[in-house]
């Protein structure tokens, strides 16, 4: 039982860091530019596709990694310069609509170029296999690597934001947007860079998810809604909030799936417990978000004030 709990905790952590990588970019972009970006899921897909295609062509994991994050970052900056820039002054509805349109375009373009069949991505051989974390619990090395990378990125983001000049601007930008403009900073460049950073993180999440999930057109939209849940629970614009919420969502979601059906079975008939458990775990995260918002309408750690 303890072994199972350890394994499930790791699983929750791994889902949590994947969500965090996506949510960090989304919430950063919202915090600084005030934009809701529905096309963020497309950046995740771009990272996974560029990585898969490069890997298939060159067989080099390093090149594939660079192509994935570089491609996503470039795509993000391009997106910012061509479309997003014109949306900063608009209301959220216009932003949702335009970025939704953008995601349709990007997805369809990828399905024209790459086709709709899922692509294959292998795990680097040195990350294949399992590690015994606790005695008797073999855990996939690759998933551990995702957890480590995710935590390192979180640490890096923390250092970047609390100890560098760009970070200072980012922090100031998320609480006093006008002040940053007044500081004489090249705001346009800052915005493009921040967007590129968010895209890079999404691309990284996408390429790491490739060998575990499915590399396919539309993969971004599937996880996007969950990412929005994380961002909103954490408090829009707050990276610390996104980290906290990603961990909570990852752990709660995993725990619901892992422990609720067996628990229900202790006092219910088995097949009814399975059905109810399945339903509860489907609803769980949305219920969690609704509850959090009812108690704290601005999320757990809101960025503004």
């Amino acid at each position: 039982m303890l072994n199972l709990a350890v394994e499930q905790a790791l699983n929750g952590l791994q889902l949590g860091v994947t969500l965090f990588l996506l949510a960090a970019g989304l919430t950063l972009i919202f915090g600084i530019m005030g934009v809701i970006n529905i096309a963020h899921g497309s950046l995740y897909m771009i990272g996974a596709f560029f990585c898969a295609a490069t890997l298939a062509a060159t067989k080099s994991f390093l090149l594939a990694l660079l192509a994935g994050i570089g491609g996503a970052a470039l795509a993000g900056m391009l997106m910012e310069m061509l479309v997003m820039r014109r949306l900063y002054a608009r209301d959220h509805l216009d932003q949702v609509l335009a970025t939704f349109g953008l995601s349709l375009c990007v997805n369809e373009a990828f399905s024209i170029v790459f086709g709709q069949r899922p692509l294959y991505v292998d795990i680097p051989p040195w990350l294949a296999g399992s590690v015994e974390v606790v005695a008797g619990v073999p855990y996939p090395t690759y998933r551990l690597a995702i957890v480590v990378v995710g935590l390192l990125v979180a640490l890096g983001l923390y250092l970047l934001i609390s100890h560098t000049r760009i970070g200072m601007l980012v922090r100031a930008g998320s609480t006093h947007r006008d002040m940053v403009r007044a500081l004489g900073v090249d705001v346009r460049l800052l915005y493009t860079l921040v967007f590129g950073l968010g895209a890079l993180l999404a691309g990284l999440a996408g390429l790491m998810a490739g060998p575990v999930y499915t590399v396919q057109v539309g993969m971004g939209e599937q996880i996007l809604i969950l990412t929005f849940v994380v961002v909103v629970i954490g408090g829009l614009g707050s990276i610390r909030g996104a980290f906290l919420a990603a961990m909570i969502v990852g752990l709660v979601d995993t725990a619901l799936r892992a422990f609720v059906p067996p628990w229900l079975k202790t006092f219910m008939e088995a097949s009814a417990a399975d059905a109810l458990g399945g339903g509860l775990s489907s609803l769980g995260i949305y219920l969690l978000m609704a509850l959090v918002l009812l108690v704290k309408p601005r999320g757990l750690l809101p960025a503004h004030g």
């Binding site: 479309v83 349109g101 375009c105």
Partner: protein, 332 residues
Amino acid sequence: MAETRALRALGLIVLVALLALPAVAHFAKDPAWISLVTRMLIYAIAAVSLDLILGYGGLACFGHAAFYGLGGYTVAILFHHARSSEVLWGLIPGSTQFLVTVPAAMLVGGVVAAAIGALSLRTAGVQFLMITLAFAQMLFFLFSSIATYGGNDGMTVRRRNEMPGLDLRDDTVFYYLVLALLLLALWAGRRLVRSRFGMVIGGIRQNERRMAAIGIDTYRYKLAAFVIAGMGGALAGALMVNHARFVSPDMMHWTKSGEFMVMVILGGAASLIGPVLGAVTLVGLEDLLGQIPKWGEHRMFAIGAILVLVVLFGKGGLWGWIARRLSRGGDG
């Protein structure tokens, strides 16, 4: 004043065209137009009702499909029970009467909207957007797992509802009924947005703080608007299930909520004609682009691009654009 005259003339032409459509379609041996336009008009009802809160009230609701789907399921479930003559929860008998099922659907939509709205309206802005989405997704998953009503596959409603004196199974009759209901909804909407209540809703969109400062408890008004919109969405869903003779959880999926938002903003929010235009354009585009051989399956690329361009360059949506052209024409 040339502007209003031009608008009146345009409205009259459109109305005549809509009235003549069945005859023209039959004459052209192309009766499928009737059901295509019926579908557009039903979506228009959903979009207009969403516009009441989204456009006029400034409340970004991302869960309108929940009410649309509930309206549809109400009709389908009542039909199901009328057919099997089982009584729902031991007290509600089934029905196939249009005049029973559609008001019932609106009632259900209104009651659920009151519940969802009462909770959601405690938040605002993006949080409101997300919490309405969350409630809609919960309903989606709920209906996806009710085996009795078809689960994810949905269920067929083998016959349209009945109405004394009208043969609703006739597509032309049903078309005119939907057209009449849309016109009724537009007329009611026009009265509503100009009423005292409508003034308050418009005021809340522009400046909620101001409304509180003149003594208006904005929460109650937003909730009332939310309920009315929910009933409108349920009406559209009830009509759609009658039209399509089929219901499925797809009607509640978040992408459907997104489509409704697209219709409103594409057509022009905070106007009554805008959402109608948006519904007609979006459904028409998808249908017509889909018929292009070979490239039709990539139509979402064009639709996505159009959305981006309309938002970036077409202020006020299609209706805003038309209104500007007309007024420019009137000036020169």
